[in-house]
Each structure stands twice: as structure tokens, then as C-alpha cells.
């Protein structure tokens, strides 16, 4: 069915299709619309889930952990300060191998209070063992939320998945949305280590170094296996519903001499910048990274690279630019832009590409020697 929705409503609509047994959430701008919509679905019996209106994000994730441990499907959503407040339990969910799906509406971190888009919130959770995906359109938010459940619950993965969408730029933007009839695209959840009173076991108990080490490796092994599962899921989604995204979405990439790399809505905006530059005769292309974890394997050889980070690791650099350097031995022009919702237009992006200085770092809009 073709409709019009915001990014937040698209996520809620996807969750309605997946029918989690338990949803626990705490409101935070700009995520609120997701939980309000879900509460509405539950109240009107459109969605037969238990909705737990918890008193904090720490408890939201703790409640999802408790519910998921019993073997049922769970969902939560948060943003920014809320994500950081639940940080302890975010780690716990992955360590406990629970396929929880969470939407995170990317927002900057205080102080000062700033409610606009930035990726630093989710990046602070990138080493927790969660799979992380970043979307750029309302349709992609919907489709990816659906795929997230199938990937998380896959027996070769059994790790939680965080679906990230940019605060306001996407969470509150109205775009067309085609909802789908899922059929059996996401099979019923089967958690092999679900709590079973007929077969009592200790969960998360004291664990010595040798076993602990094995559990850590098992997370990484599953993370590596998830690459294949993501690929299969995207292919199957494309086969059934006609839309495909990939681990990174390439645009006019094949013959490009210079490639701009970005995530979320900036990555989509970059496609317009590429068109502008192509008209000028520059062989430009773009790559929009969707999956941050597992980190994509990219073929970047022989091209000039411009990486836009809507994040920063203080004392280190733009996280994506530095990751590119470390993983692929490239020397990109690193642009830090869009922090705290700073406006970055496609003309600005075209400017970054025109003025690129490989190996240097540029803070967009900051005067002086940085």
C-alpha cells in the first residue's frame, strides 16, 4: 500500500508488521513519535504486544533483555542521551546474545542541549557487539527495520541490531512509503538459549577467563557470519519486494575518479552533489555506508576519497575517515560536517569534493586554523 509517512512512523509501521511480544520504551526527542505510534497501535489492538512504559532507557533495555531471554521478540527505540543512559544494558544485550531490535534516532549529545542530527550517539555504542545500520529515506527506514529482525534472529547471528535514522532530517520528514505484506519473510523467532524452567541453567553468571574469552570470540564469529546473512536477507527482500540497498549504496561509482563517502541523509544528499559535479565534467561518485557493524569491505583502490563524518572522536579524528585509513590503507580528505544538526547542502558537499586536500582534515564552517 502506498502512503506518506515520516521516518518515525515508518519504523513504527514496520514494527507493527513484526508483532513483537514485548516492547519497552522511554520517550526522547526526536524518537517520541515511534513510541507514541506504537502505544496507539497497542491501545487500538492493531498490535497485540505488551507495551512496557518504563521509567528510563536503562530499564527499557533491561526489560527487553528480560523479555527476549524468554525467547520472544522484542523492540525498543531511543536517541542520544537515552542511548547513552542505556549503554550498560546495550552491552549486556549483545553479550547475552539476544536478538533485540532497536531504532535509534541519531541526535547530538549535551551539553549544550541540542536535539538535532549527529551520529556520535550511536558511534559510542559501536564496540558493544550490536549490528548497526544507517538509513537515508523513509522507505529505507521501513524496509531496514523489517530486515533487521530477520538478521538479528538468524541462527548464525543471534545478536541485536540497531537501526539508525537521522533526527528530524529523516525522523520527521514526510516521504512516500510503500508498506508490504510480509508473508513468511521473517520466520518465527527461535532462541536456542531461551529460559526453560524444565531445563534450568544459569545465565550471565561468574565466568572465568577461558570461557569468557570463548564467548567474546563467539560474538565476533557471529558478527562475521552476519555479513552473509545480511547479503542473503537483502537479496531475498529484493526478490520479494523489489528494493535492494546493500552494505553500502554506490551511486555513479563504477567509473568515478573521486568518491564521496557519507552515512545517513548526508549520504543521500551526496548523490545530488555527484550529479552537479558530473555536469561540470568531474567523474564523481558516492558511497553511502549503511552497515557500520559489521564494517563493510569496500573496493576503494585508485580513487580520490572524500569522507564526511557527522561525528568525531576527540583526539583521534572523524570515525569513518580514520576507519577507512585503518581498514583500506587510503588517504582520504576528511570533512567533519553536520554536527549538532549543522546544515550541509548538496552544494556544500560538491564544494568539499572540488576543494579536496587528500590527507587533511577540514571542520566545515569553523574559521581559523583547525
Amino acid at each position: 500500500m502506498l502512503t506518506v509517512a515520516t521516518g518515525n512512523k515508518a519504523v513504527a509501521a514496520a514494527v507493527r508488521e513484526l508483532r513483537p511480544a514485548v516492547i519497552a520504551a522511554y520517550p526522547i526527542t526526536p524518537q517520541t513519535e515511534i513510541v507514541e505510534q506504537i502505544a496507539e497501535y497497542v491501545t487500538s489492538s492493531e498490535l497485540d504486544s505488551r507495551y512496557i512504559p518504563v521509567e528510563s532507557e536503562h530499564s527499557a533495555m533491561a526489560a527487553c533483555i528480560g523479555a527476549s531471554a524468554t525467547g520472544f521478540r522484542t523492540f525498543t527505540a531511543t536517541s542520544s542521551q537515552g542511548l547513552l543512559y542505556m549503554h550498560e544494558m546495550v552491552n549486556w544485550a549483545a553479550g547475552a546474545r539476544l536478538p533485540i531490535v532497536m531504532a535509534n534516532v541519531n541526535r547530538s549529545l549535551a551539553p549544550g542541549w541540542n536535539i538535532w542530527a549527529e551520529h556520535t550517539d550511536a558511534f559510542q555504542e559501536r564496540d558493544t557487539g550490536w549490528l548497526q545500520v544507517y538509513v537515508s529515506t523513509v522507505q529505507e527506514a521501513y524496509d531496514t527495520t523489517i530486515m533487521a529482525f530477520r538478521i538479528a534472529e538468524h541462527q548464525d547471528v543471534l545478536l541485536p541490531v540497531m537501526v539508525n535514522l537521522d533526527g528530524f532530517l529523516l525522523s520527521h520528514s514526510m516521504q512516500s512509503l510503500e508498506t508490504i505484506s510480509l508473508g513468511n519473510f521473517v520466520p518465527p523467532i527461535q532462541l536456542p538459549h531461551a529460559i526453560d524452567t524444565a531445563n534450568p541453567a544459569g545465565y550471565g553468571m561468574l565466568t572465568g577467563p577461558d570461557d569468557y574469552f570463548k564467548f567474546r570470540w563467539d560474538i565476533e564469529r557471529s558478527m562475521r557470519q552476519s555479513v552473509k546473512v545480511i547479503d542473503e536477507t537483502e537479496r531475498e527482500f529484493a526478490r520479494r519486494f523489489g528494493r535492494k540497498y546493500g552494505v553500502a549504496e554506490a551511486y555513479r561509482y563504477q567509473d568515478a575518479d573521486v568518491v564521496v563517502i557519507a552515512m545517513g541523509t548526508l549520504g543521500k544528499e551526496a548523490e545530488v552533489a555527484v550529479d552537479i559535479l558530473r555536469k561540470e565534467g568531474m567523474k564523481a561518485g558516492s558511497l553511502r555506508i549503511r552497515w557500520l557493524r559489521p564494517f563493510p569491505i569496500l573496493d576503494l583502490a585508485g580513487r580520490d576519497l572524500v569522507v564526511i563524518d557527522r561525528d568525531y572522536s576527540f583526539g583521534f579524528g572523524g570515525v569513518i575517515a580514520e576507519s577507512m585509513k585503518a581498514k583500506f590503507r587510503v588517504d582520504p580528505y576528511s570533512v567533519i560536517a553536520g554536527l549538532g544538526g549543522q546544515e550541509v547542502t548538496y552544494d556544500d558537499i560538491a564544494g568539499f569534493i572540488r576543494d579536496r586536500k587528500p590527507g587533511e582534515e577540514h571542520w566545515f564552517g569553523v574559521n581559523g586554523n583547525v
Binding site: A21, H58, S59, A60, A62, A67, G202, M205, L206
Partner: protein, 293 residues
């Protein structure tokens, strides 16, 4: 006399200290709860008592979870079980630190939401697992490793906080009275909604008394009126018989304090504070029981 089942859910050879009140209490908690039970345990001595993976000394599923998260985790578990039409008991078994301090927000949220579960706080009046640091539940005058001169602030009134949420059932208990624990756990689990049991857990290494005296110290706590056994069912308070007698004719408080190394050298002023607290608590409960407050 209450008939207590022979089944044991705590297997032999836990890693508890000699004379541990937590494992003794838990033995009777699980006898009352039976096998269709899941325990949620935040960081506390019980995280250790279970043993080390892959062995466990507890024969029901135990879900260990972060310090602040027990009540919230139990909320999710309970909702999932109830959604599936299952009556499985969900029991949080937490120490005082995980309850009155770091876990109080989650506890309050779960009770406000009417979560169908039982929360048991075994209260050894300090952070025992980390070597006896003060908690909000440590009584005034008690020495801990972070109050080497004796605690200067009073014990937090956890029961008043829980009572403010109006749970259908709440009770106090003491490790020295296992039949009473058994009965109260059975009662709590028979009632739908959130229930709460606060168990006094005299801790030999923490309170510095000999490990064969756990039960004795528990009895002295009750007989001196420092710990009052009562129940509050749908708002109606009933002081248990033994505490009624103890309130009428308490043994001298000093008999409870003297065997405990943690109270060695306690000031007269701190003893007076403890006494007046005990009297105030007894008075309040008597008035509540009489329905005049």
C-alpha cells in the same frame, strides 16, 4: 506447622561463606516457589554463591543482570511469560545495595507499573560482595570499610518507600525464621501484581560475628525490636506475633549490638538513635495496624 517440601533447589556446595544468610534464605524461598520459577539476580553475593560457569548450584533458571537493572529485567520477563499465558514465577533476589541504592529507580518503576513479580531484598546492611562498604541500608553507628568511624546517617526506610507504591502484598522477614519466610513467599506468589519481601540477613564476615551465630543474631534483631516482622496486604498491616511480643517487651538493644564487631565502640548517641528509630517504627506500625494512621 507449615509443611515445607523436601525438594532442594540449592544444590550442595555453593560458594557462599560459612553461615551465609543469603543462601539459607534462598533455600526456603525456592522451596516455596517450586520449579516453575525464574530468578533475576543483580550484582550481589548471590551472583557469586551460584558458582562459576558452567556449574551452577541453583536448580531453577537464574538470570544474572546488571546492578541497577533487576526489577526492569523482571518486568520484561514477567510480561513475556504472561503474554504467552504462562504463570511462571518471576522472583528478583537482590541485596540491599541493588535495592535501596542503585536499583531503587527500576524497583519503583516496576512497582508503579503493577508488574506481576516478587521482589525479595536480602538485606545485610552493606555492600557485602565487594567487602562490606556502606550502603543506604547500613544502620547508624555501624562500621564498614567506607565508614571506619561508624556510619553517621540513618538506615534508609526501604519499606516506607515500597509501601508508598501500594503493592498488594509486602512483608518483612528474617533469616532466623525460615518457616515464616516460606509462608510469606507462598503468600506473595499467590497474589497477582507486585509483591515485596524484605529479609534481614545478618552476615557473619560483614557484621563481624562468628559464623555459627547467623540465626541467633537474627533472633536478637527481632527480639530487640530492631527488626519488626509484619505484613501489609492490600494496605492492611498485621504485625506478626513474635514481633508483637518483642515490641511489648523487647530485650535490651545492647544484647543485639554487643556480639557484632561492626558496632564495637558505637557512641551512646548512635545507640540512642537506633533505639528511637526502633520505637518510632514500632509505633507507626501499631498505629497502621489499628487503622489510626
Amino acid at each position: 506447622m507449615t509443611k515445607i517440601p523436601k525438594e532442594e533447589y540449592i544444590l550442595k556446595s555453593t560458594s557462599a561463606c560459612a553461615g551465609c544468610p543469603s543462601s539459607l534464605t534462598l533455600r526456603y524461598v525456592l522451596k516455596a516457589a517450586g520449579p516453575d520459577t525464574v530468578m533475576v539476580v543483580p550484582a550481589c553475593c548471590t551472583s557469586v554463591i551460584q558458582g562459576i560457569f558452567p556449574n551452577t548450584a541453583i536448580n531453577v533458571p537464574v538470570y544474572n543482570v546488571a546492578f541497577a537493572a533487576a526489577a526492569a529485567c523482571a518486568s520484561g520477563m514477567s510480561e513475556a511469560f504472561r503474554k504467552a499465558g504462562r504463570k511462571t514465577n518471576v522472583i528478583v533476589y537482590a541485596g540491599d545495595g541493588g535495592t535501596v541504592d542503585i536499583g531503587i529507580q527500576a524497583l519503583s518503576g516496576a512497582f508503579e507499573r503493577g508488574t506481576d513479580f516478587l521482589y525479595i531484598c536480602y538485606d545485610n546492611e552493606a555492600y557485602g560482595n565487594t567487602g562490606m562498604q556502606r550502603s543506604g541500608s547500613t544502620p547508624v553507628g555501624a562500621r564498614t570499610t567506607t565508614t571506619p568511624g561508624g556510619k553517621t546517617h540513618a538506615k534508609k526506610d526501604l519499606d516506607a518507600i515500597v509501601a508508598a507504591h501500594n503493592p498488594p502484598y509486602m512483608a518483612t522477614a528474617c533469616v532466623a525464621y525460615p518457616q515464616d519466610i516460606f509462608r510469606k513467599v507462598e503468600k506473595a506468589l499467590s497474589i497477582r501484581g507486585p509483591s515485596f519481601i524484605h529479609v534481614l540477613a545478618p552476615c557473619p564476615p560483614g557484621w563481624r560475628f562468628s559464623s555459627d551465630m547467623t540465626v541467633e543474631i537474627g533472633k536478637l534483631a527481632v527480639r530487640s525490636g530492631m527488626w519488626i516482622l509484619y505484613e501489609r496486604e492490600y494496605g492492611k498491616v498485621a504485625i506478626n506475633a513474635i514481633s508483637k511480643a518483642s515490641i511489648r517487651k523487647p530485650i535490651p538493644l545492647e544484647e543485639y549490638l554487643a556480639p557484632q564487631g561492626r558496632f564495637k565502640g558505637i557512641s551512646r548517641q548512635a545507640v540512642d538513635t537506633l533505639k528511637s528509630q526502633a520505637e518510632r517504627m514500632a509505633k507507626r506500625l501499631q498505629l497502621e495496624e489499628a487503622g489510626t494512621c
